[in-house]
Amino acid sequence: MATSVYLSNPVFKVNAVALTGFCTAATLTQTNTAQDTSVFGNVARVYSSTLQDNECTATLYMTYGASEVYATLKALVGTQTTVVLQEGTTVGNKIWTVSNAYLETLPIMNAALGEIQSIDISFQGGTIVETAVV
């Protein structure tokens, strides 16, 4: 049976800063990189898991005010930090903490006439730990 989870009250934190109020979309993808371990005699490819290669992406309204989005992210480019994605704030909701997530690029400006500026950022790598709201 299919079920749906509506992320009505998710939490998104970067480097301990809650950017929830600027975030319109977030994705956390766990990837275990496959290595081909097929050998003679196999009739189909066989893959084994090697390193994790996780990715966390988010769409944020870009603001340049004091203690807002740009102030949060500008010093993190080229470094590893901690990213937290939380399903909601209800007891039992899941919390995913990505440690050592690497921010390679930051779109400093993404302006278009008549539109509210937003940016897409991507954190690469890191390890995911799952906990729950208590």
Partner: protein, 57 residues
């Protein structure tokens, strides 16, 4: 050990102490104005005046 105080409500309750978890880039938070350092310089020891040093310098 340096103590940090929260300034921005995006990090926590302003005025509360901020204890960074492992992996948190504290410098970035300081640069962004989210927290401040609460470094108080230790008071220097006061020298009591003596006959040889009446001003206590």
């Amino acid at each position: 050990m340096t103590k940090y105080i929260i300034i921005s409500e995006l990090v926590g309750n302003p005025g509360d102490e901020f204890v960074p978890d492992e992996g948190i880039n504290v410098e970035a938070l300081l640069d962004g104005g989210f927290i401040k350092s609460d470094n108080k310089a230790p008071k220097s020891a006061k020298t009591e005046p003596t006959e040889e040093n009446p001003n206590g310098n």
